[in-house]
C-alpha cells in the first residue's frame, strides 16, 4: 500500500485534496487493483480448470470461443452471468439472500490484504498476519450459512450446514499446521515468514524438517476442505444437492459465489505458498534467477502449481462421505497436527 500511496502522489494537486480523501484513497485504489487482478485470475482459473478436467478425461474442453482453445469462454460466461436476470425466489429471506454472496466473497477478498505478492507488493504487512488470515477465513462460514438458510430450500440448507460443519472442523488442523511454522519463525507477520525462507529451495519450511514437511500436507488437505473442493465437496455435491448453498442463486449473485470459490482457492494456495513454499523467494539459490523472475511472478507460479494440484485431486478422487470427512478431520488430521506442533516445538527448543 505504501507504493500505491507514492504513486498517488503523481496525481496533480493530490496534496490539495482533503485529508480524509488522502487517507482512504490508497486503500480504495489498492482494493480496486486487487479486485481487478483477482477477477482476471479467476477467469483464467475457471478456463484452466475446465481444460485440465477435460484433458484428464480425454476430452478437449472449451474449444470455440475466442479462437485458440476457447480462451475467451469464461469471459463470455461471465458477461452472460452479469447480464442475466437476478432472480430472488419468493419465499426467501430477502435481505440475507441478497447479502450472502457478498459476505462469502468478502471472506475470501479480505485475506488478500496480508498475502505477500512480492518484497514490497503487499497491501498491509500486519504483525498478526497469520491470525488475521485464519480469522477472515472463517467469515465465509457466516455467508455460506446465510445463503443456505435464507434460500428456504432443502438443498441449500443441507449444503450450508455441511459446509459450515466442514469448514469449522478443518480450520483447527489447518491452523495447527500453520502454527508449526509460526513456532519456528517466532512471528505472525507474513513478510517475516517469507523472509525466514530466503535463499532457495532448501530454506523453504516444507524442506526444513520432517515435522513441517508433514505439516504442509496437513495444511493442504485441510485447506481443500476449507474451500469445499473435491474430495471434500459434499456441501456442493452436485449429484445429491444440486449445487449446495448456491442452488437458488442466479446471475450476478451466482457469479459472486463462483468468484469467491476460486478466490478462496487462490487464498489457500497463497497461504500455503507463503508459509511452506517460500512465498515470493526464488526456487534456486543465488542472485541470478532473482533478476530473471520477479518476486510476484515467482509467487504466482508457485500458487498456480498448488492450484493445479487442487484441480488434479478433483479429477482423481471420489467424494468422501460425511462420516469419513469427520473421521479424517478429528481422528487423523487433528492428532497429527498436535503431534507436529509438539515435534516442532521440540526442534525449536533443543536443535537450535
Amino acid at each position: 500500500m505504501e507504493s500505491i500511496a507514492q504513486l498517488l502522489q503523481l496525481i496533480p494537486k493530490y496534496d490539495a485534496l482533503p485529508g480524509l480523501v488522502r487517507a482512504y484513497m490508497p486503500m480504495l485504489v489498492s482494493s480496486l487493483v486487487i479486485f481487478g487482478l483477482l477477477s482476471l485470475v479467476v477467469l483464467f482459473l475457471v478456463w484452466w480448470e475446465r481444460k485440465i478436467s477435460a484433458h484428464m478425461q480425454d476430452r478437449l474442453g472449451p474449444m470455440y470461443v475466442g479462437g485458440w482453445h476457447g480462451w475467451a469462454q469464461t469471459i463470455a460466461d461471465a458477461i452472460k452471468l452479469l447480464l442475466k436476470e437476478d432472480i430472488v425466489p419468493e419465499s426467501t429471506d430477502r435481505v440475507l439472500f441478497k447479502l450472502a454472496p457478498f459476505v462469502v466473497f468478502l471472506g475470501a477478498f479480505a485475506a488478500f490484504v496480508v498475502l505477500p505478492f512480492g518484497a514490497s507488493s503487499i497491501v498491509s504487512d500486519l504483525n498478526i498476519g497469520v491470525l488475521y488470515i485464519i480469522a477472515v477465513g472463517s467469515l465465509a462460514v457466516v455467508g455460506i450459512m446465510m445463503a443456505g438458510w435464507s434460500s428456504n430450500s432443502k438443498y441449500s440448507l443441507y449444503g450450508g450446514m455441511r459446509s459450515v460443519a466442514q469448514i469449522v472442523s478443518y480450520e483447527i488442523p489447518a491452523a495447527m499446521a500453520i502454527m508449526t511454522v509460526v513456532i519456528l519463525v517466532g512471528s505472525l507477520s507474513m513478510q517475516q515468514i517469507v523472509g525466514a525462507q530466503k535463499g532457495g529451495i532448501q530454506n523453504w519450511f516444507i524442506f526444513r524438517n520432517p515435522f513441517t514437511f508433514l505439516a504442509f500436507f496437513v495444511y493442504f488437505i485441510s485447506s481443500l476442505a476449507e474451500v469445499n473442493r473435491t474430495p471434500f465437496d459434499i456441501p456442493e455435491a452436485e449429484s445429491e444437492l444440486v449445487a449446495g448453498y448456491h442452488t437458488e442463486y442466479s446471475g450476478m449473485r451466482f457469479a459472486f459465489f463462483y468468484l469467491a470459490e476460486y478466490a478462496n482457492m487462490l487464498v489457500v494456495a497463497g497461504v500455503a505458498t507463503t508459509i511452506f513454499l517460500g512465498g515470493w523467494t526464488q526456487v534456486l539459490p543465488g542472485a541470478l534467477t532473482a533478476q530473471l523472475i520477479p518476486g510476484p511472478i515467482m509467487f504466482f507460479l508457485k500458487v498456480l502449481v498448488l492450484i493445479f494440484v487442487q484441480m488434479w485431486l478433483r479429477w482423481s478422487l471420489p467424494r468422501l462421505r460425511v462420516d469419513q470427512l469427520m473421521y479424517l478431520c478429528w481422528k487423523v488430521l487433528l492428532p497429527a497436527s498436535f503431534v507436529l506442533v509438539i515435534g516442532v516445538g521440540w526442534v525449536a527448543v533443543y536443535w537450535k
Binding site: I52, A54, H55, M56, D58, R59, L60, S316, K331
Partner: protein, 163 residues
C-alpha cells in the same frame, strides 16, 4: 490401532495411485472429435439418406412396393412411340417417364428393403446423416426431373399428404 495406521497408509497409496492415473490421462490424446468441423468417416455400408439416380430409373415401382412405410411415391406414364429410345446405364430400356419420384425421409425406417429390388441399382442409401431442415416438407426429396406429357394435370404430390 494397527488398522488405524494401515488405513492411513492405504489412503496414501491409493490416492497417489489414482493421481498417477489421472496425470497419465492428462497427457493422452483426446478422443473428442470437433463435430461440425471434423466428422467421422461413415462405414461403407451405412444406411442413411436415400438417393435415386433418376437417369437410370426405369420407373418400375418395385422400391415403392417393397417399402414397409410407403415413403416412396412414384408416378409414371408411357413414353410415346415417337420419342427417342433411351437406356439406363446398364442397358435396360427406359419405357416409362417417371414424373414423380418422391421419398419422404421422415417416414423412412432405413430398412434398405427398397434398395435390393431395384433392377438398375439406381436407388441407393448414401452415408449422409445430417438432415436438419427448417421446414418439415424439406424432408421430402423430389428426384424426378421430367414433366408429364399427358393431359392429366400434374398434381403437387407429397406422401405426407396421404395421411
Amino acid at each position: 490401532m494397527r488398522t488405524y495406521f494401515t488405513d492411513i497408509w492405504l489412503t496414501m497409496v491409493t490416492v497417489s495411485r489414482s493421481m498417477w492415473v489421472a496425470l497419465l490421462h492428462l497427457f493422452t490424446r483426446s478422443v473428442t472429435l470437433q463435430y461440425p468441423t471434423e466428422k467421422w468417416t461413415m462405414p461403407e455400408r451405412t444406411r442413411a439418406r436415400l438417393f435415386n439416380k433418376i437417369e437410370d430409373c426405369i420407373g418400375c415401382g418395385q422400391c415403392a412396393r417393397a417399402c414397409p412405410t410407403d415413403c416412396i411415391t412414384i408416378e409414371t406414364e408411357k413414353r410415346g412411340k415417337d420419342e427417342p429410345a433411351i437406356f439406363a446405364s446398364d442397358g435396360t430400356p427406359i419405357k416409362l417417364r417417371t414424373y414423380v419420384f418422391d421419398i419422404d425421409m421422415t417416414l423412412c425406417c432405413y430398412c434398405s428393403l427398397c434398395v435390393f429390388p431395384c433392377p438398375t441399382h439406381c436407388l441407393v442409401m448414401t452415408t449422409a446423416y445430417e438432415y436438419s431442415v427448417y421446414n418439415k416438407q424439406d424432408h421430402v426429396y423430389h428426384f424426378a426431373v421430367d414433366k408429364p406429357m399427358s393431359a392429366k394435370p400434374a398434381k403437387e404430390h407429397h406422401p405426407a399428404d396421404k395421411a
